[in-house]
């Protein structure tokens, strides 16, 4: 299902943020209008899509954030909000008042948490996050984006225990944005990332917290023991995928996913149905995968990729590499 960005304004500048460059390009009052929200809701409803993921920037910055959520809930959408958790006291109280009676299965949050030590977050930010978690903890899944090899998850485990968050951690890996400069994990460093992540196995097991891997992680860098543990501990719910997610911006521009946010950007109004949107971006993905299978040379001949068990890592790596070459490939790759 697509992600809907209520705004491109953000409250912080995360070093890994895919959206960092994107934020600075956007106008300060770039927020989704009611008319466009209703259009998107109709679009989703027409596709019989009942889930409504909300993103930003920081979506809670939208002046009508609470009203829009209440509206969407009344239209029978189930909502997940991706947020930093950073907001003013007033905003938090307002949100609590507006949303406290909504069942958790209808409204949930994924809170992207930064390591306070590593990112040198101001104390006020850290306290704000804690206040948010205290109020909405039972609806929150912690999210963490890996952008450096010496990452630590300890603070997340503390938050999960202290604030009663869902016992799952959504783990993302920072990908390159083709044509832009941002911090990302290089393919050759992913093995070390896996090792470091799975060094926390005893903690995961003791606290019964399940790690969830976001898109773009390759299958091949996990050894059998590691893979086996992941499958057994999480009940086999793993997908080493890379496919169009589709983000819808506040100006109704759409793109395949945030690393590819400058690539084949279209307007939602150019499409009649959600299926058309996914078909379009799936076709683009397939064209790129035809050129190069994945982030490693071996991906081209990989059985796992051929059988659909792994997609070969994030497409953004390949696209970034293509930019360094002479433009001899299919024209769609260079748009």
């Amino acid at each position: 299902m697509p992600n809907i960005l209520l705004t491109q304004r953000c409250v912080r500048s995360c070093p890994y943020c895919f959206a960092n460059k994107h934020m600075s390009d956007s106008a300060p009052d770039d927020i989704l209008s009611w008319e466009d929200l209703i259009y998107i809701a109709d679009f989703m409803e027409a596709a019989k899509e009942r889930r409504f993921p909300i993103l930003g920037g920081e979506p809670t910055l939208h002046p009508d954030f609470n009203d829009m959520l209440i509206y969407l809930l009344e239209r029978n959408f189930d909502i997940n909000v991706f947020t930093s958790g950073i907001m003013t006291n007033e905003k938090l109280e307002e949100a609590d008042l507006a949303l406290r009676d909504v069942p958790p299965e209808r409204l949930s949050f994924t809170c992207n948490l930064n390591d306070p030590e590593k990112t040198h977050s101001p104390l006020a930010e850290v306290e704000s996050v804690k206040r948010f978690l205290k109020v909405f903890g039972n609806r929150v899944t912690a999210g963490f984006n890996i952008y450096r090899s010496d990452f630590k998850l300890d603070f997340i485990f503390r938050y999960i225990n202290e604030f009663g968050l869902n016992r799952t951690v959504r783990l993302g890996i920072a990908h390159p944005i083709p044509g832009k400069k941002n911090k990302f994990i290089k393919p050759e460093d992913i093995k070390a990332i896996y090792n470091r992540l799975l060094s926390y196995i005893p903690v995961f097991e003791r606290l019964r917290i399940k790690p969830g891997l976001d898109c773009g992680f390759p299958l091949c860098l996990l050894d059998d023991a590691q893979l086996g543990w992941l499958y057994r501990f999480t009940g086999g719910k793993y997908d080493f995928g890379c496919a169009p997610v589709v983000d819808i911006g506040p100006d109704m521009k759409i793109w395949s996913c945030f690393p590819l946010s400058s690539f084949h950007t279209k307007s939602l109004f150019e499409f009649n149905t959600l299926k058309e949107v996914y078909d379009y971006y799936s076709r683009i993905h397939d064209i790129i995968r035809t050129e190069v299978g994945g982030i490693f040379e071996e991906c081209d001949n990989c059985n796992f990729r051929e059988e659909g068990l792994c997609r070969g890592g994030c497409l953004a790596h390949s696209l970034s590499n293509f930019r360094k070459e002479h433009p001899l490939r299919m024209k769609e790759i260079y748009m």
């Binding site: 008319e35 109709d42 027409a46 509206y71 009344e74 507006a98």
Partner: protein, 287 residues
């Protein structure tokens, strides 16, 4: 006259004189709604609707369960607090209700879109000045060609139902302003041909007890034929492509270079498109 619907206040003495008639009862006090409905039923009046004129937003109106099922036209200055409104939705879903709202302060008819998408029929209150024609056009397109089903938005739905390429389509009826269908009474039973004329005290010289066949009433005939006067103006509304669905309602605004023409032309185009699409979905008999 028997075919005219009488728009009248809820005055008991007046209602007593209207036995058997079809009425739209104008009220502004919420407390009066239930007793007025009871009274009207007791007098065997045929209630077309209760027109409730509120000074407060819809979200603040104390809707009463007793009003369930009664045809209600609620005129309000705005929708109000959305969260407060949504708290009332469970109750309002049992109501036979249409909300009449002017444009929002933001100018984009957002409230109308929200209400319609939540399943509530809504009408746009249009005044000669200050109509955001572009936004109204967007709303009209949403109303008639939206992606999913939603509640009707007037006057667009009315035009769709009534539109005939070769006749006028006057959507004044949505607002009880068509004198061929509605007469407006004051508390004493004096008859006016529109709410505006009622406000000005411009009556047609008859009393509600005396109204018979109005086809012989000079003022009435003059009024219902008044649209022809546009054809006596140089460069007036009669030169406009959108005339047949507008009939000069926005003549004053037009003088100030209003974009009413573009809107009404678009309305005709969309309605014709809508009707064509609907024809394609005709149900054919099955053997």
């Amino acid at each position: 006259m028997n075919s005219h619907i009488l728009v009248c206040p809820g005055d008991i003495n007046l209602l007593n004189r209207l036995g058997g008639k079809t009425v739209v009862i104008r009220l502004s006090d919420f407390e009066d709604v239930t007793p007025t409905i009871e009274r009207a039923k007791h007098l065997q009046l045929d209630i077309k609707c209760i027109a409730l004129h509120s000074d407060i937003p819809v979200s603040d109106i104390p809707f009463n369960r007793d009003w369930e099922g009664e045809p209600l036209a609620v005129f309000a200055p705005d929708l109000g607090n959305l969260r407060d409104f949504i708290k009332k939705i469970a109750l309002l879903r049992h109501f036979n209700i249409r909300f009449y709202l002017p444009n929002d302060s933001g100018g984009c008819y957002t409230s109308h879109r929200i209400l319609s998408s939540l399943g509530f029929s809504v009408a746009v209150l249009l005044n000669d000045d200050g109509v955001n024609w572009d936004a109204l056009c967007d709303l009209m397109t949403y109303s008639l060609l939206g992606l999913v089903r939603h509640a009707p938005i007037e006057p667009f739905q009315y035009v769709t139902a009534q539109y005939d390429r070769n006749r006028h389509t006057d959507y004044a009826s949505v607002y009880f302003e068509d004198p061929t269908s509605f007469l407006h009474l004051d508390g004493e039973g004096h008859v006016a041909l529109s709410p505006d004329e009622l406000r000005r005290g411009s009556f047609i010289g008859v009393n509600v007890d005396e109204i018979g066949d109005l086809s012989g009433n000079v003022e009435y005939v003059k009024r219902i034929e008044s649209w022809r006067n546009f054809f006596l103006e140089t460069n007036g509304c009669a030169y406009c492509q959108g005339w047949r669905v507008c009939l000069g309602k926005f003549a004053q605004g037009r003088k100030n270079n209003s974009s009413c023409k573009d809107f009404h032309v678009e309305l005709m185009d969309v309605v014709e498109q809508y009707q064509t699409m609907k024809d394609k979905n005709k149900t054919v008999w099955q053997p």
